[in-house]
């Protein structure tokens, strides 16, 4: 397989295949809901939709999202922005991606989904030969939020209890609008830009992994359990599962700033990877 074919395969797979951990989490959520309830029906519909998309290799959601590629630095010579853009253009022509890229100043559509700044490419210091792709839809992106602590409106101070309060408020504000049950990636600290970057990176983690930092692991478990008592449920219509996971990381900050950044990912957690 050529590099071009591999990149095309990565895009096609990511758009049409729900990762195994997200599928398992949705199945578990469906089994927790009351039999015959609307919440159960919605979760079963999501699972049937994912199975159909995978079998027919079509996008599971019509919003194929912001394409964000994570490429190890060692591969930079081969996996250039031009190589990635060429694969995106072909995937768009083949109907694997919606025409989804708009010039923000003019309103014009970039019909091939490529433009300065699109797709988004991060060259990472990973030592692997794995390229990763996150396809995150606009509905969920609109529900992401950033707090600056202390925040008197939510009585959140500059400690992990303040972080907990920020997380629960973020879930409550999102209700079902980001296509719940979603996944929350959280960054404590950083600046406004690296906070969002780090929060989004947490969305690439396996739902079943365990945070190596004991305090953050405990906070992940606690906020997930508490969020699921809110009763928001699938698509915000009520139910026992409002979130599938909370993944938290911390970054250094300057003394003056204490950001808590929450990146909301919809149930269609389209993250894929391929070895080069």
């Amino acid at each position: 397989m050529t590099l071009h074919e591999k990149l095309l395969e990565l895009i096609a797979n990511t758009a049409s295949h729900l990762p195994a951990d997200a599928t398992a989490a949705l199945e578990e959520a469906a089994s927790r809901e009351e039999a015959g309830s609307a919440a159960e029906m919605i979760l079963r519909t999501l699972l049937a939709n994912a199975a159909l998309a995978a079998a027919s290799r079509t996008p599971m959601c019509q919003d194929t999202g912001t394409l964000t590629f994570f490429v190890p630095h060692a591969l930079r010579g081969a996996v250039t922005p031009e190589a990635i853009a060429a694969a995106v253009r072909e995937a768009t022509a083949k109907g694997l991606l919606r025409r989804n890229t708009i010039d923000s100043a003019t309103g014009r559509s970039y019909d091939d989904n490529t433009a300065p700044g699109a797709p988004v490419i991060h060259y990472t210091d990973s030592s692997t030969r794995t390229i990763r792709l996150l396809m995150k839809g606009g509905g969920s992106e609109n529900m992401s939020t950033q707090f600056s602590l202390p925040d008197a409106t939510i009585a959140a101070g500059r400690d992990l209890e303040g972080v907990r309060r920020a997380i629960l408020h973020a879930v409550h504000r999102a209700q079902g609008y980001g296509c719940a049950p979603g996944i929350l990636g959280v960054c404590i600290g950083g600046d406004r830009a690296t906070g969002y970057e780090c929060a989004k990176l947490q969305l690439l983690r396996d739902l079943a992994d365990r945070n190596p930092d004991a305090a953050l692991a405990a906070l992940e478990e606690r906020t997930l359990a508490e969020a699921n008592t809110l009763g928001i449920g699938p698509m915000g219509l009520g139910g026992r599962t409002s979130l599938l996971g909370v993944k938290i990381a911390a970054r250094p900050r300057v003394p003056a700033s204490f950001f808590v950044t929450c990146a909301y990912l919809c149930w269609a957690a389209r993250r894929g990877s391929i070895e080069i």
Binding site: G36, A38, G95, Q175, G176, M235, L237
Partner: protein
């Protein structure tokens, strides 16, 4: 939420059938469904003529992905788009058109809820993101208007749908599932954050 079996709704969606629905019930929609989103609502608000007879039919907030195969159209992906953007226009549209079902995602405002009660209409929540599956419930593309002017996503499509799964989110009796969930979750949140 109580366990329910899905209720079959078939065109024409009568006022009687629609007023019998209650928030939380699951429905399967079959028959005449028109798509209309941002451009369509602006066209209506600007005084434009309605392209179809919406009486006793359904309006679906949706920008489908379609492919042309010879003279026919096939729907590849057709999930709901967020409905709140149409809040300013929907009460007047319900009153003028005689539409019975508004289908979308995320719910609408109190003015739309009131219009549903007054004119005998309901708001149905489709399953967000389930675009591949929803496309399969489109049995036939019957007609399309404004395709040239607005493009495929904004155009007004007439679909013949079969057992399109939705949940009654806002009924004709003032019942609003979203408002109930918002209120209940706010109380739970306040409890969670008051003692720890």
């Amino acid at each position: 939420m109580t366990a329910t079996k899905a209720i079959h709704l078939a065109y024409p969606f009568t006022e009687e059938a629609v007023r019998a629905l209650h928030a939380g019930e699951q429905v399967l929609v079959s028959g005449k469904v028109f798509t209309g989103r941002d451009r369509f609502h602006k066209h209506f608000a600007d005084g434009g003529a309605l392209p179809f007879d919406f009486r006793d039919a359904a309006l679906f907030h949706c920008g489908p992905v379609v492919v042309q195969e010879g003279a026919k159209w096939r729907v590849v992906a057709a999930g709901p788009t967020t409905s709140v953007r149409e809040n300013p226009y929907e009460p007047a549209f319900i009153a003028a058109s005689g539409v019975r079902l508004i289908i979308g995602k995320g719910g609408m405002d109190k003015a739309t809820l009131d219009a549903c009660a007054r004119h005998g209409a309901v708001y149905l929540q489709a399953v967000g993101g389930a675009a591949a599956l929803t496309a399969q419930t489109v049995r036939r593309v019957v007609d399309v208007k404004f395709l040239e002017e607005w493009g495929a996503a904004e155009a007004c499509w007439q679909f013949e749908m079969h057992e399109f799964p939705c949940v009654v989110a806002m009924d004709a009796h003032g019942g609003d599932l979203f408002a109930a969930v918002r209120e209940r979750s706010a109380k739970t949140l306040a409890n969670l954050l008051s003692f720890n």
